[in-house]
Symmetry: C2
Subunit: 225 residues, 2 copies
Amino acid sequence: MINFEALFKISYGLYIVSSGSSEYGNGFISNTVFQVTSDPPRFASCCNKDNHTAGVIRSSGHFSVSVLHCDTAAGIIGTFGYKSGKDINKMEGLDLKYGETGVPVVLNEAIAFLECRVVETYDVGTHLMFIGELVHADVLDDGKEPLTYLHYRQVKKGVAPKNAPTYVDKSKLVKKKVEEEFARYECAACGYIYDEEKEGKRFEDLPDDWVCPVCGSEKDDFYKL
Amino acid sequence: MINFEALFKISYGLYIVSSGSSEYGNGFISNTVFQVTSDPPRFASCCNKDNHTAGVIRSSGHFSVSVLHCDTAAGIIGTFGYKSGKDINKMEGLDLKYGETGVPVVLNEAIAFLECRVVETYDVGTHLMFIGELVHADVLDDGKEPLTYLHYRQVKKGVAPKNAPTYVDKSKLVKKKVEEEFARYECAACGYIYDEEKEGKRFEDLPDDWVCPVCGSEKDDFYKL
């Protein structure tokens, strides 16, 4: 028996994992970045095989990790988490640096970054796991706390996109009783749920220029549950 | 250039990873437990090759993960994090259950648990990475927050043991200026540092029965830095 609520007790940070070069770069929001050995320091990162960045990392042989802070704006999470590099240039207009490996490092909303050289790639099913040896790392802002997946879920009401290792199909979760006089609206792009009861405001009373706090989609992109 | 302070910005939880059977079980404190695929749900866990539990997981083909809560007592972290199953029976006197896979699940201080069947084992250098398919999971206590490595370091003043993937040799860190009139004492067993300035009390003024808050070692096991 699997109670999928138990999976939310595992702790993760939230990162932008990027790759490519100064000619072309792409990245995605990852919650699975973690150190696997201390000597030499090596990091693992999981990437869905369907993610555009998976191919970019394979080609370049390097990736960077930007550690997001806890007050990260929804916009950047929307761009890197819910949109594809097949459709847009995610790096456009961002504050980037090209580190020792030549891959882009996203500096916006980042408090630290790592650069890794891929030494191994494991096929773990729907995802590839890249094992990277640490080449370069630095702190950008020591005053802010890192964004955790728990904070993103509880405070920012964010949900994992379908390609994330930690995506949970909502139908598998134990349903909690919802007061009938309040409705809930789901964002078709990212799955964020606007809960009238929790927010204390009817969805229809929100201004027309209101946007999804997670991915920036417009009010019309929501449907009633 | 690697600034090792940047590595502390990566977020982790803290877990007891156990294996074995009702005849004999062993476990260790792990901060690298993370989901690698959502369908089917698979989890990875890194274990130092020198850890006694590595051999126990290899023999049994299963492991459990107990998610610790943020007020976890120092004693259980000392036993599972800084002592070896080669020397003591870590499971003695604990509240255990034997789940669907037959491995012991430590219930003390746990708010949730997972049981996994090992489907792949990767050699990532000093550590083995076990990939386990989720067989069983449940929430034990929904009222407490999970313990994070950040909380363990900042609030509980804990440090990673030498066998942890995230162990950082202190000589690699940028030295911060310490006021000369205060001294610091390090626990020889676990590396915990008693800082007189932060604690507001001289080490020599601590009672004789004072023990290391991280691993339970006696006052005599500390040396002045």
